[in-house]
Amino acid sequence: MIAGLYLPGDSVIHQLSAPVKLSLMVVMGLALVLVDHIFVMVSVAITTGFVFSVLAGLGFARLWLATRPLLIWVLFIALAQFWFVTAEAAVLVSLRLVTLVWVAALVTYTTRLSEMSDVLVAICSVFRPLGVNPERISFLIALTIRLIPSVFEIVRDVRDVQKARGLERSYTAMFVPVLTRLLREADALSDALVARGFERWGDQQ
């Protein structure tokens, strides 16, 4: 079963409610964009890092893990900024990027999937008059999550079959069967759902 990114814990951050954390994140995002002074940026970055690893109890290793995918980008911008603008700009932009990602990752790591899902449904409820159906949306989300392992299984099965034929290196040999099976099983699933009373897409009145 696929695991979310949430890391359980009982730190102060963990206990904040999801809407609060999300709003804080947005505020921080905006604030970060406005920061111009390198000293302010550095201190904000350090504070954020501290909050992430110590206050939320996520550890420095995790902080590093969250930063690693960014490193290429950071290097790239740092060089570009340093070349075209100034060294200060390089530090500023790099730190801004990293800090923003830290803040966002912090929210993700400390918020359960179910909490985030609730926020989403709450937001969608606002659009109900427009025909948006939040219950269906949350059902879809749950369904999709449930189907992830099935998709992996299909890929594995097809891989095994094609391996037996010595064809595992061909893209078409891999993907065409995967997709056809996906479609077939999806159709079967939707038939099953319709039989249980779900309306078809486009049938809604």
């Binding site: 999709t144 893209y171 997709l179 996906l182």
Partner: protein, 171 residues
């Protein structure tokens, strides 16, 4: 309900490329395939679902990435482009037919053109770079993506032959 189809295909992007040891992600392939095979609206929805799941905190991006962090990083623009790209591809295919030539063009226009058109400016914004530099960085992905467009077209052609989708019969 289209849910199942959508869900199944929305998950295609997160599947890493287990076949050929290429350091290229299969993600864009997923978008192209979805657009070609399941139609514009469903494909766009599938991509939207994927983004929602990502935002909720599932590691569905290649390399196990996920969460809100990916939406504030440099590739955020590309992510936003996915539903739009899928829709565009689907629309082009339903308008112009499913010959492999059309498929390839649609994949390129919607899967590469449109997505880059959104991804690169956003990247420029996030990285505080002039557009040209961002465009330069983005073009590094171009060869890989072109190959993906080709593969996607070939695969889609195969799938469409093997499993024709009637728009009205199975929503």
């Amino acid at each position: 309900m289209f849910a199942a189809l959508t869900a199944a295909l929305g998950l295609l992007p997160p599947i890493p490329v287990p076949v050929v040891p290429v350091p290229v992600t299969a993600q864009t392939l997923g978008i192209m395939l979805a657009g070609c095979v399941i139609g514009a609206r469903r494909a766009a929805f599938a991509m939207l679902l994927l983004l929602v799941l990502l935002a909720l905190g599932l590691p569905l991006l290649s390399g196990g990435r996920g969460g809100l962090g990916v939406f504030v990083g440099p590739s955020a623009g590309y992510l936003i482009g996915w539903p739009l790209g899928a829709y565009c591809i689907g629309a082009l295919v339903s308008r112009f037919g499913t010959t492999i030539g059309v498929l390839f063009l649609a994949n390129c226009l919607g899967g590469i053109g449109l997505i880059y058109a959104i991804g690169i400016p956003v990247m420029a914004l996030v990285l505080d770079l002039p557009l040209e530099s961002a465009a330069l960085a983005g073009s590094a992905f171009l060869p890989g993506d072109l190959i993906k467009a080709g593969v996607a077209s070939a695969v889609a052609a195969g799938v469409l032959r093997a499993y024709p989708m009637q728009k009205n019969a199975s929503p």
